[in-house]
């Protein structure tokens, strides 16, 4: 994986999306998990599970998006070359 993108609110998707590389991964966190209700494209997508559950989104996550624990989050950081954080 080249770059891990963290997206922490829906509005941040607009900036993130055009800069995705097919080798990248995206982790939706916090309010960014609202984006997980739809199919997204351009990279591999994950959504942070506690944020999904708190917001009542567990049954609304699109099947193409995998939920991730905090341990998974750490493993994503391990396996990428750099992390880019998108907010606002």
């Amino acid at each position: 994986m080249a770059t891990l993108h963290l997206v922490n609110k829906p509005a941040a998707w607009e900036g993130c999306h055009p800069l995705l590389d097919p080798k990248d991964a995206v982790l939706l966190i916090e309010d960014g998990t609202y984006l997980a209700q739809q199919a997204l494209n351009g990279a591999a997508f994950h959504a942070l599970e506690p944020d999904v559950r708190a917001r009542g989104l567990s049954r609304r996550v699109h099947p193409s998006i995998r939920t991730a624990s905090f341990d998974d989050f750490v493993r994503l950081v391990e396996s990428c070359e750099r992390v880019v954080t998108w907010s606002a």
Binding site: K9, P10, E30, D31, Y34, Q37, P50, D51, R53, A54, R55, G56, L57, S58, R59
Partner: protein, 118 residues
């Protein structure tokens, strides 16, 4: 003297402390016998989504707190229908019954108020 006060809720429930703190103010307005209305609009609709579990983040559940509104005398709960359609939300997904308003009805709701806050 009781005033007609509209609380406009347009923030997500867990993105910041804003939603929880705003609900606390609404409860107090209800206790103090004001004529309180609440309008959920935009991302504020997510406050009403069912199956929330604030415990997953070590805190309170916003949807449950909203459920206490009627006990505090706050029963005029409105929601923006166009926002709900944009977000793909309907009655079946919500934890609380609300009256759906289109934009013209929301304009009339605002025009009936003494005070609007958020």
């Amino acid at each position: 003297m009781a005033k007609r006060i509209l609380f406009l809720l347009n923030r997500t429930p867990y993105g910041a402390s804003h939603a929880l703190e705003a609900i606390e103010a609404i409860l107090v307005a209800g206790v103090l016998d004001q004529k309180v209305s609440v309008l959920f609009t935009g991302a504020g609709l997510y406050q009403l989504l069912s199956d929330q579990d604030g415990g997953a983040l070590g805190g309170r559940t916003v949807g449950k707190m909203l459920g206490a509104l009627p006990e505090y005398g706050v029963t005029d709960l409105f929601a923006c229908r166009p926002s709900a359609e944009r977000l793909g939300l309907g009655d079946a997904n919500l934890c609380l019954p609300v009256a759906w308003l289109d934009h013209a009805e929301q304009r009339r709701l605002i025009n009936r108020q003494d005070i609007v806050t958020s």
